[in-house]
Symmetry: C2
Subunit: 272 residues, 2 copies
DNA sequence: ATAAATAATCTCGTTAAATGAGACTATCAG
DNA sequence: CTGATAGTCTCATTTAACGAGATTATTTAT
C-alpha cells in the first residue's frame, strides 16, 4: 500500500518508463528513437530494451523496431483466468438474458481509476467504446461514479481534497459537504445513470461489493438510446441493481479453492 | 536483436522477475512471501513491489497481498488496437462463414515461441484449449509447426542445433538433413495437420507471411474430430490455406496510415 | 553461398544507485 | 483513541548502472 509517489525514481522505474512510449499512434520504436526520447546513450537504451525484452514485455518488430511483447498477452490471460470476479460474474450475467440489455460490462476499481475488465455485446447493432483494458478516471462516467459513491468516508474525503476542482466542474459539489450529498444521492438510488462515455447509449451502473462495505467494481448495462423508453430505462435500472447484488452476494461467500490466500481482487484503496 | 542470454541479470531484470511469481495457482502474494521466495530483505522486496506498482504492473489485493495490475490489461488493449495482423485478418475471417469451421485461431510468432492472439468459436459445442495469450514452444502443435517449417535457412539451422533432442523425440528427424526434409514436406503440403494440443479436435494450420518470405503467424481452423469426415478434412485444409494466403496478400500490401514506421509485427527472429 | 551493412553487445574506468538492518510512521479495525 | 500491522526511511556499505568507442552477431544484397 504505497504511501505517496516519490519524485526520485529507481533504475527499474526508469526501465519501465520505456513502456509508456508505446501508444496506439506509435506502437513501434527503434532503439535510436528511444535514445533520443530518453536522452540516454546508446548503451543505456539497449540495456533498457534488453531488460524489457528478457522479461517478454518487448519484442523485436520489423525494420529494427521493438513492439510490446508476448508476455503482456500471457499475463492478461493469467489475470483473466485467476480473477474471481470474472469467474463469479460470468455465469450470473449469462443467466440474465433480458432483451432490454444491449451490452453488459464490468468495471473494476484500481485505487485511482476504474478499468473495464469485461464487455459483452448483446445487441449486434450497438456501438460500444468500452472494451477490456479501457480505463477511466474515478470521476468520469457512470461505471466510475457507481464505485466512487461507495468509497469509505476516509477515502471519499481524501478524494475530495485532491480533486475538488474537477469535482466542482463535474457539478458534483463545490464543497466537501455538497460532494458528500451528491454521493449520498447516488447511493440512495443504488445506481448511477449516464452517457458521458458514449452518447449513443443509455447506461446504468450499480456497485459490486466483495465485502460487507467494500466496493470493488461496478456492473453496467447499456442500451441504444434511440430505442429506449422511459419504462425500459427504469426496468434496466432495477435489473442492473439486482444482478449486481447477486454478484456481490456470491463474492462475499467466495473463498479460493485451495490454500487460504483470501480474496484476490484489488482492494479499494486510493492511490496517492 | 538480443544475442544470447547472459547469466548475470540487471537490477531491472531482478525486479521484473517478481512478475514470474504470479501464476494461476498463486495469483496473490504478500511482500513477506516475496521476500522469502527471493531471499531478499524486507526493504528490497518492498522496493521491487513499489517499482512494479508505480508502473501499474502490480496492484494491491485484499489481505495485504499484491496481484497483477491494471496496466497489463491496458497494454494488452494497446496491442490489440495496434496489431495490423488482427486488423487485417478479422474482416477476412469474418468473410469466411464455411459451416465446416468449428473455430478459427491466429497464432503469432515470437522468436522462441508461438502465441495464440485470436480465437473465435464458431461451433458452440466445440471444446477449445486455445485462447488469446496461450503460448506454445515452436515445436509443439500444428500452429507452431506451420511457422517452424517456413523459417529462413539460417534460423532453421540455429533452431536445429539448439533443439536437436526435442526434434528427434518429436520424430521430425535425427539429423539436420532429416529435419530439413520434414520441414520441406510440410511446406510442400502448404499446411500442417495435428491434434497434439487438443485431442478432441481436428486442426489444420497454414502459415501467414508479412513479406515475400518472412513467416510471422499461422492461421488454424479446427473442427470437432468426431464429426469430421475425410472429405471435410480435405476441404478444411484447402480452405485454411486459401484464407491464410488472402491474409498474407493483404499484409504484404499493408503500410501504417501515417508516418513511415514500417510494419509492426514481430519479425521472425529466433531468440537465444 | 559470400560479403557488406547494420544492429546489438562488450570492455572498463567512473559515478551513482541498490542493498541490508533496524527504527520509524501511516493506515485500519475495534 | 489505542493497538496491530503494513509500508517507509536513514545511512553506511556494496554493487551495479553509466558512457564512449571497439567488437561481434545478424541480416540483406549480390
Amino acid at each position: 500500500m504505497p504511501k505517496g509517489r516519490d519524485v526520485k525514481q529507481s533504475s527499474a522505474g526508469k526501465v519501465l518508463n520505456v513502456l509508456d512510449l508505446f501508444s496506439e499512434e506509435n506502437p513501434a520504436w527503434t532503439v535510436e528513437m528511444i535514445m533520443e526520447k530518453l536522452g540516454a546513450t546508446r548503451a543505456t537504451a539497449y540495456r533498457y530494451v534488453k531488460s524489457l525484452y528478457d522479461a517478454g514485455l518487448l519484442a523485436p518488430g520489423a525494420a529494427s523496431t521493438y513492439v510490446l511483447g508476448p508476455r503482456i498477452m500471457q499475463l492478461d490471460r493469467q489475470i483473466r483466468r485467476s480473477d474471481p470476479l470474472l469467474k463469479i460474474a460470468k455465469p450470473i450475467l449469462d443467466d440474465n438474458q433480458s432483451p432490454l440489455i444491449g451490452a453488459k460490462s464490468i468495471s473494476s476499481f484500481y485505487g485511482d481509476q476504474v478499468l473495464s475488465i469485461y464487455v459483452e455485446r448483446c445487441d449486434p447493432d450497438i456501438f460500444l467504446t468500452m472494451e477490456r483494458g479501457k480505463n477511466f478516471p474515478l470521476i468520469y462516467g457512470s461505471p466510475s461514479r457507481a464505485v466512487l459513491a461507495y468509497l469509505p468516508p476516509y477515502q471519499m474525503k481524501n478524494f475530495y481534497s485532491s480533486n475538488s476542482a474537477e469535482i466542482a466542474e463535474a457539478e458534483l459539489g463545490d464543497s466537501l459537504e455538497e460532494f458528500r450529498a451528491s454521493m449520498r444521492k447516488i447511493r440512495r438510488k443504488g445506481c448511477c445513470v449516464g452517457n458521458e462515455v458514449n452518447n449513443r447509449v443509455f447506461g446504468v451502473s450499480a456497485p459490486i461489493f466483495h465485502d460487507k462495505s467494500s466496493v470493488s467494481a461496478s456492473l453496467t448495462f447499456v442500451r441504444r438510446i434511440e430505442i429506449t423508453s422511459e419504462e425500459q430505462a427504469e426496468q434496466l435500472t432495477k435489473d442492473v441493481i439486482e444482478t449486481a447484488n447477486r454478484i456481490s452476494k456470491c463474492l462475499k461467500d467466495y473463498r479460493p479453492a485451495e490454500g487460504d490466500q483470501g480474496l484476490i481482487f484489488p482492494t479499494p484503496r486510493l492511490a496517492g
